[in-house]
Amino acid sequence: MILSKEETKKILEGVLKLCKADSAQAGLSGSEEQLVRYANNMVFTNLSKSTMNLGVQVAFENKKGNSSTNQFDEDSLRKCVQRAEQIAKFAPPDPEFLPPLQPQKYKKIKAFIKDTAEISPEEKTRKVMDIIEHGHKKEMNLFGTFSNSASFFAVANSKGLFGYHKYTSANCTTTARTKDGTGSFRATKDNRDIKKLDAFIVGKEAIDRALKSRNPKEIEPSDYTVVFEPEALADLILFMYFFIDARAADEGRSFMSTKDGKSKLGTKVFGENVTVKSIPDHPDLLAFPFDNEGIPSQEITWIDKGVIKNLYYSRYWAKKKGKKPSSFTGGIVMEGGDATMEELIKSVKKGIYVPRLWYIREVNPMTLLLTGLTRDGVFLIEDGQLKHPLLNLRFNESLETVLNSITMMTKPEIAIGSEWELPMLVPGAKVKNFTFTSIAPSV
């Protein structure tokens, strides 16, 4: 369910009034989500979900309790608050507890598009059927989704803080597979405005590239120069989430800690051409204006020309270290270069073109050694040209090595990784000496 700012404020103020604790904070969120899912050229899941949820945190001095509910009658709201207060009374004191924030000012990020919220299941299904029809003509099997959602979230506390944000999302994906099972490709696009999302073009790209990827050949796993499409690099860059915590770095238990347990903040860790920021109000990303505690989103440069410029400080750790608390509300942007993808490929004598990665996991969090696989549309590059499709490969490579081995980049563009549906702005990149360790005989 989507509530207006006024409706939300009324509920949250009512909830806070029910609280007898010394301090309280409440969050309210809701969404209307629809999705059409198709496989083997037929719609097989088509759904609509409506949800709303209230979360309450109360504290008696530094003894705190949390409770949540999705029922909004008076009795349910009262019980939710009472449950949190009962927990707080039993809870041991938390020496790291901080009282709620004073009221804050938030940037207005216009991320709600009415058309996205209102598209009907019939219209989405019709668009999907247009793609499927095209797939039939090309003798392909198509699989994918077309989804739209409208959501809101708000935060309020006993100090008078209030924030409200409303946003929409639309996403379409198509995986095209050749009938002989030797070619496959997935294309995806995401936008807050469904009118800017052409599901047919996404489907067509998947079909065209799947046809080109038929009959892949094996290549000996080894170190290769790799040209990554932005989607593939985005999946790797996301692991940044796991090492930017300042406390873990200071306490010597992170990749961001030196061997003797000190933080690497301020030191050069990656190549000079690596700069990564959060720009929550970037017009192509339109991320959130505040986090779930009500901390305003900020533009933060995490990595500046290879130097660790900032780490994430929770409110507690910031207070302890005399720093400003951070918010991490998305809007990740990695700066790129001026080359085109064609120029990247052209510059490689022998290498591998990787449009997409899959199932990436940490092998060693202290060295950022990652493993994962290529998935769909991998090609051998020889003498600056895409020579022929390759069977998928497993890699074992450190993100630190990758971010020290980028030799060319395209301009950043919106990219969504394979596993985590978080739009980011990431360039395509040419990376030298990327290590593949085995063949995955899967298409």
């Binding site: 759904l47 609509s48 029922q71 994918g144 989804s147």
Partner: protein, 481 residues
């Protein structure tokens, strides 16, 4: 509830649905998380709502809402049918879902102590005692532990005439020590099996009693020698095998994957229907059985989320691939006459999807080797315990796993701890290299609490049981540069 479920079914039928079902479900959760000597979070939450699934001329529709009123139920039923009608426009060949009998029944998880009635201070004491014991061990820099409880109270009704009420209770816990010594940071986890059971599980596994050993092994892990590179025999514990079974057996034998329905996200499988009863999945001692009636299994229920009565079936028998996990929607697509009751939705708000059942590697027969026998019979190997890094390709062929702790085996003896061990294999080659499985006395339940699948993604939970097992000549250390 019957008045509400009847209202939904009547409303859907009135709109033209050929079939409809409704689940009205209330979830309650309690989670307690401790870091070092601090309880960082105690939370309780409830979630209540309903989802209505409808079928019309080969097309499915689903709609859900958290507003459980008569007006909303009628509205959502109509929306579900509207969606099913939109879906049916894409259907060229109708394959009707497998038939299901009508059941009127109540089913409940078997447990002794309702965890929600155990005082919070008692649970807090368990976690703080655990962390305190861990922090006593020199070089342990962090201790984290948690307890989690879920209850799911579900009413299912369908137009075939079923009215099924089920109460499911879930209990889980874990405790991890992080140690730092000589520039190395390593962890060790006391991996408590997540089960459908009551608080008696927490009392039985004695988390504080295992804290010291766990912490000491974290420190030892920091000092361990780097694992070797090359072919080794590996002996895997039940707490490790759970994830290997999940990824390389449970997922490849899900029929929706085999038919391509997960191609856009989770992937497909090498175990295609033309390989049924032919593919040598593993060695002759390898038998995988699925059982949603397994006592305390994480996916154990009386009926699945399509109202199909749960039971047992083999995926692999005497090493041969013999069956799939199925649902009503997919079973008829390979000519099967009934579903194996694998439909599951992680919330009232989500549509049921095909989920692997509790999937177990059967133990060796009576007289099979003990763990001591296995070690004594291994000249050059590695023993792996607990879950660690895991990655597998989208058709479930090429996998690479780490673990939580590793020990070298030399000339029949467990010698020293190792670090940074991974092994990599092709699924069928791996299971065909299994030459020994310990007997029933070593059989242990472990499981997975957070398996992502579906679009929108849902969280699956299931138990994977096994005894210790040995695999010959496996490639290890490939992750090392």
């Amino acid at each position: 509830m019957k008045d509400l479920t009847d209202l939904a079914l009547d409303a859907a039928s009135g709109q033209g649905a050929e079939y409809a079902d409704i689940r009205i479900t209330r979830y309650n959760y309690q989670n307690i998380f401790a870091r070092d000597k601090i309880i960082r979070s105690i939370s309780e939450s409830e979630s209540f709502g309903f989802g209505i699934r409808t079928y019309y001329k080969g097309g499915w529709g689903f709609a859900s809402s958290n507003v459980v009123t008569k007006e909303e139920i009628k509205k959502i039923a109509a929306l579900s049918v509207q969606i099913a009608k939109a879906s049916s426009a894409s259907v060229k060949t109708i394959v009707p879902p497998a038939p299901v009998k009508a059941y009127v029944d109540n089913w409940k998880t078997s447990y002794k102590k309702n965890p929600f009635q155990v005082p919070i201070d008692k649970k807090v004491a368990v976690l703080l005692a655990t962390n305190k014991e861990m922090l006593k061990v020199q070089n342990v820099i962090r201790a984290v532990s948690d307890l989690g409880f879920e209850s799911e109270h579900k009413y299912f009704a369908s137009t075939v005439g079923s009215y099924i009420e089920q109460e499911i209770m879930r209990t889980n816990a874990s405790a991890t020590a992080i140690a730092r010594k000589k520039g190395e940071v390593k962890t060790r986890t006391y991996q408590v099996a997540p089960l459908n059971i009551g608080y008696e599980h927490i009392e039985a596994v004695d988390i504080p009693g295992n804290a010291k050993r766990t912490a000491e092994e974290a420190v030892e892990h920091c000092m361990a020698a780097k694992g070797p590179v090359g072919k080794k025999d590996i002996i895997l514990s039940p707490s490790h095998l759970a994830l290997t079974i999940h990824e390389s057996v449970g997922h490849p034998t899900e029929l929706d994957r085999a038919l391509g329905f997960e191609a856009d996200f989770a992937g497909t499988t090498f175990a295609t229907p033309n390989k049924l009863n032919k593919l040598k999945y593993g060695s002759e001692i390898v038998n995988f059985i699925c059982d949603r009636n397994q006592p305390h299994g994480r996916s154990t229920v009386g009926y699945d989320d399509e109202g199909v009565k749960t039971g047992k079936y083999y995926l692999v028998k005497d090493g041969v691939f013999v069956g799939y996990s199925t649902t009503r929607e997919f079973a008829p697509m390979i000519g099967e006459k009934e579903s194996r009751a694998c439909a599951y939705a992680d919330s009232w708000s989500n549509v049921p999807i095909l989920r692997m059942a509790n999937t177990s590697l059967e133990p060796g027969k009576k007289g099979s080797p003990t763990l001591e026998d296995l070690i004594a019979d291994t000249k050059d190997g590695i023993l792996i315990d607990g879950m660690g890094s895991f990655s597998i390709d989208h058709q479930r062929n090429n996998f690479q796993f780490g673990g939580d702790a590793f020990w070298e085996i030399k000339n029949g003896k467990k010698t020293r701890m190792l670090k940074e061990v991974t092994y990599q294999a092709i699924t069928t080659e791996f299971w065909n290299s299994c030459d020994a499985i310990c007997g029933p006395e070593f059989w242990e339940q472990q499981g997975v609490r957070s398996c992502g699948k579906g679009q929108p993604m849902q969280r699956g939970q299931m138990t994977h049981s096994s005894a210790w097992a040995r695999f010959r000549n496996i490639e290890v250390g490939g992750a090392q540069k």
